[in-house]
Symmetry: C2
Subunit: 334 residues, 2 copies
């Protein structure tokens, strides 16, 4: 099901009436009702004060889903690969959530939806939840919103949640790190992609997939990646996970089974090595910190702040105090 | 001058001795001594406790430089354009700083330097300061570090500082917003670039440059951009700045003079409209907030935290409390 919400006045009245009872909303989401899941993720996107209540109602109903991150440069076929993976998981009888996160649109108030169209084959399946998410310039950003949206999908009984992010920037890396298993997608002949992978996302990948493997240069890209991995880093330690490099032609479904198998293997390694617990723990700590930082920033900007911060900024611009002294003064106000 | 620091033990001893007197370091930087400028930016990169002192010593010695942001997708020729702009500003007798910021490398501990090689023609000019910067996974990130590095270059008497960022993600947009004038570079036939520009960076550009204008499709890209801009947005208000769309072949220097002229025109508009003061004020507020947030995060993670945060995360994972309650508890500890 597509979880994008409609925005007619009629809809809004209905949803606001429904919001009245967040506990009921959570109960219906846990029951797998798409509308309730969509509404809860909208609360996350809007940074609604009701989130606190929703979050409390979800206690004990999350932590079961296998969370898979997909990232890579534009044009490597992330949506096509996601679609193919969803088909594979559905064939295995699993309930699947897809969270398409676009950190590059801070202003537009909506993620790039063009690619989502390709996921239409799953648009009517009641056991597939698909949602695009953007930050809308919120204080906490995606690092704040993504774990909360994940918890909603997890609480709604998804066995697998795929987080798909566009690009190779720091935000994407952070989002990828929210996953149990992170898949980095590349395509042949993308010099920039490899460059970016070298610089930033090399260390976060649990699995490399060279998509469009029927194109020229695919074997070279695979060789390059394997060579990079052979150079060591964290993967060379004993007992460490060695990220495999796989090839796919996602548009035809070629190689997708191997990706699913590698993901299952990685999941077993996560369990056996205790790494899964460590990642869950790290994720929870990051989420708590993000919520606390957002709350403190809100206090700085809104409650005491706006005037205080403005006055301090003016004094910095005028060369009367330095930003550190101003920051001290701001913290004192809290 | 290239401001990258060497890291031999001999160098380190020398620099640590020199750090002894931060005030002296700042005095030498204000004198335009490249080594002192390099050392101060390293303090920023390392989030050194000495920054506080350096920041205080720089009071009243910054705020004069024209700050120009350059951003755009990989492959549009940002480094070539930056080099050409540096030549143009040098020809006008200006002292120029270049800060090449790479938000996509949170792990590597160093920005992609390959492209910097092209800037070699300015490497020995004592009135050009060139520095690549990465975050090294620092808490505050580039939004924290960039304004401080800017202030150092500004304090060192640069008339112009160019901030060059790779990519089109949210981090790049944030960095671009630190500038007085933001230039978004595009190249013909880059569908993804235009998509990204539409989604994220459209609203931050004060100036569009279609580089590689000798390639097929350049005129179409210019037309597309002008059409997008004609659709309105903030630029359609009375008295608003209307971002021009220019064409360049930076490798040959073609069109660079027009870019410089447009930047001068934008600077005059900033002064006349009062926008320059507003942007300085906003920048200072953002910097103060970033320093305060980094300080608070450090307290959460380090001082009280590590143990407290770990214990709270454990309880969240175990389904005993929700992240909001945990965040409240964490803030109470501060």
């Amino acid at each position: 099901m597509r979880l994008e919400e409609t925005h007619t006045p009629y809809e809004r009245r209905r949803t606001s009436r429904r919001d009245a009872d967040v506990a009921d909303l959570v109960a219906r989401a846990r029951d797998g009702q798409a509308r309730a899941v969509a509404r809860l993720i909208s609360l996350v996107e809007d940074a609604s004060p009701k989130l606190r209540e929703a979050s409390a109602a979800l206690i004990g109903h999350a932590g079961h889903a296998q969370i898979i991150g997909l990232t890579g440069p534009p044009g490597v076929g992330k949506s096509t690969t996601t679609t193919a993976l969803v088909s594979a998981f559905r064939a295995a009888g699993k309930r699947v959530g897809v969270l398409a996160v676009d950190p590059s649109s801070p202003f537009s108030g909506g993620a790039l939806l063009g690619d989502r169209v390709r996921m239409q084959e799953h648009a009517l399946d009641p056991d597939v939840f698909i949602r695009s998410m953007a930050t809308r310039g919120h204080l906490g950003g995606l690092a704040w919103a993504t774990p909360q949206a994940l918890r909603v999908l997890d609480g709604a009984g998804c066995d697998v949640v795929l987080i798909e992010t566009v690009g190779v920037g720091q935000a994407e890396v952070e989002i990828a790190q929210l996953a149990d298993s992170t898949v980095v997608l590349l395509a042949p002949g993308m010099g920039d992609g490899i460059q970016a992978a070298k610089a930033g996302i090399l260390e976060v990948a649990d699995l490399y997939v060279v998509n469009k493997a029927d194109r020229e240069g695919a074997k070279q890209t695979v060789r390059d990646l394997r060579y990079m991995l052979s150079l060591g880093g964290k993967h060379s330690q004993a007992g460490a996970w060695r990220p495999p490099v796989l090839s796919t032609v996602a548009s035809r479904g070629d190689g997708i089974e191997d990706v699913v198998k590698a993901l299952d293997k990685h999941r077993r390694w996560l369990d056996d090595s205790g790494e899964r617990g460590r990642r869950q723990q790290e994720r929870a700590a990051a989420e708590i910190e993000a919520i606390a930082v957002a709350a403190l920033r809100e206090r700085m900007g809104d409650v005491h702040g706006s005037a205080a911060l403005g006055a301090l900024a003016q004094r910095v611009v005028a060369g009367k105090i330095d930003p550190y002294a101003a920051a001290d003064a701001l913290i004192d106000e809290l």
